[in-house]
Each structure stands twice: as C-alpha cells, then as structure tokens.
C-alpha cells in the first residue's frame, strides 16, 4: 500500500508530516479558542442577566 518513495522518502514524508502538524495546530487552536470565548461570554451574559434581573 505504501508507495516506494526511494531516495526522497524523507523529503516527501517530512512535507506531509509538517503540513498535517501545522494544519492540526491551527484547527485545534481555533476550536479551543472558540470554545473558551463562547463559554466566557455565556458566563458574563448570565451574570449580567442575574444582576439586572
């Protein structure tokens, strides 16, 4: 199944590994920050409703 990459295996595999790692990092960071800000905003809005109500 694995293609024979010959003498260039390190370059090809390194390129794919670096790409996948960087894409995973930006996706993971984006999801983590989205969840954190959403949770914080919800808490602040609840607190505000409670204080006003």
């Amino acid at each position: 199944m694995m293609p024979d990459l010959g003498a260039y295996a390190a370059a090809v595999l390194g390129s794919y590994a670096a790409t996948l790692a960087l894409l995973a990092a930006i996706v993971g960071l984006s999801l983590w920050r989205a969840a954190r800000i959403k949770r914080t905003l919800r808490d602040v809005e609840r607190r505000r409703e409670r204080d006003l109500g």
Binding site: A11, A18, I26, L41
Partner: protein, 242 residues
C-alpha cells in the same frame, strides 16, 4: 436580499451557524480524498521522482497564503469604506490561517528544493517576496494585539494590509516580472499546455479545493469567535463603568 445584510453581526452568526457544519464536512472529505489520491495513487515524475508528491501540499498552501491576503485586503477595504465590523473581524480571523499556509509552503518548499535545486533556500524574487509576505502576516497579527482600541486597530491593520498587498502580488507574479531565479512558473494555468500532466492535475485540483474549503471553514469559525470576543469586551467594559 443583499450581501450587506451579513454585515449585521446577529445575521452573520445565524447564517454562519447553519453553514459551518456542512462546510467542515465538505472540507474533511475533499482534503482526505485529495491527499490520499495524491500520495498513494499518483506515479513518480520522470525527472523529479517521488518528490512530485509534495506538489499536493506545497501548491495549495502557497496559493492560499496569497489568496488569504487578497481576501484580507478586500475585507479591509470594506472596513475602510463602509465601516462594517464583521468584515474587518473576518480579516483579523484570516491572518493566522494565512500565516499557517505561509509556514507550510516555506517548509514544504525547502524540503522539495533541497533534493531538486540542491539548496533549501535561495534569495530569488518569488521566494523572497513570499517570505516578506509571511513577515507582513506576523506584523498584521502583532499590530492587532498591540492596540487596545478595536477601531483604531482595525484602521491601522487595514492600512498595513494595503501595503502588504504589494508582496502578495509580487509573490504570485515575480516569476513573470523577473525571468530569473530558481522557482518555476505557474503549475496551474488556463493554458492546458502550461499545466502539469492530467495524472497530477486532477488530484491537485481536489487538494486545492480542500485547502480553499479549509480556509473558508476556519475563517468562518474564527470570525464567529471574534464577533463573540467583541461582545464580551463590550460587556466587560460596561461592567467596569457601572
């Protein structure tokens, strides 16, 4: 129905919430199909050997690094002319994604260049202008972080984006402007004669589609976060004033 309706943050949040899951699913499918096709089911090139497989990550990321800046330019111009907050928040949201594409293109380019050109890096027009574009991304992100007032930050980063656009254009057309340097011309062209062979071209198109969709998904997700962040900061400011 006008596109400007989505400049309303509430309307934008509603529309993007409905679109995001579908976009994310389509992104995952096209990236998986494109990368597996390119890596496992394409032949070696007669000159470049197996390194030709790097094209499926290098070309889409380099292309999207430049296109992301062009999108940021359009969004910044909308902010400067029409003062729509969502547009400048979309530009802010796109910058780290664009920077990631720059890093991928630089790393994969170096790994491809070493066996083909005999060097990891060359100070030639296309590579140098692309590196400067990467530095503009860093400057743009740093400027947003450095200024407390969001409208002032939006104004100044928009101007920086206008200036950086010179290097986005140079990155793409440096090969045409100066016929020197190691980097080849466009791999993709409307002229079929200039294109790579079909056996490489079709999986490459799928990968490019996957990277475009990934960019759109991440920008939507991150813009939603920036809209929430803006509301959060406004509420916290009101609490402090009370």
């Amino acid at each position: 129905m006008s596109i400007w309706e989505y400049a309303n943050p509430k309307k934008f949040m509603q529309a993007s919430e409905a679109v995001l899951p579908w976009l994310a699913a389509l992104t995952a499918v096209s990236l998986v199909v494109g990368l597996i096709w390119g890596f496992f089911f394409t032949p070696d090139d007669f000159r470049q050997g197996s390194t030709v497989k790097i094209i499926y990550v290098h070309v889409p990321s380099a292309m999207m690094a430049i296109n992301a800046w062009i999108m940021m330019l359009a969004a910044s111009l909308i902010w400067l002319v029409r003062r729509h907050h969502v547009s400048v928040l979309a530009a802010k949201a796109a910058a780290p994604v664009g920077l990631t594409f720059v890093l991928i293109a630089l790393v994969t380019g170096a790994l491809w260049g070493q066996p083909m050109w005999g060097t990891w890096w060359a100070w030639e027009p296309r590579l140098t202008s692309f590196l400067i574009l990467g530095l503009f991304y860093l400057g743009y992100i740093a400027l947003w972080s450095a200024i407390e007032d969001p409208d002032t930050a939006a104004d100044l980063t928009s101007v920086l984006c206008l200036v950086g656009s010179v290097f986005a254009v140079l990155s793409r057309y440096a090969v045409n402007f100066w016929s020197q340097g190691l980097h080849q011309g466009a791999s993709l062209s409307l002229d079929a004669e200039e294109n790579v062979a079909d056996v490489f071209w079709y999986p490459l198109l799928v990968c490019i589609g996957g990277f475009v969709l990934l960019f759109l998904t991440l920008v939507l997700l991150r813009t939603r976060t920036e809209v929430r962040m803006r509301r959060l900061l406004a509420l916290l400011a009101r609490e402090r004033m009370a």
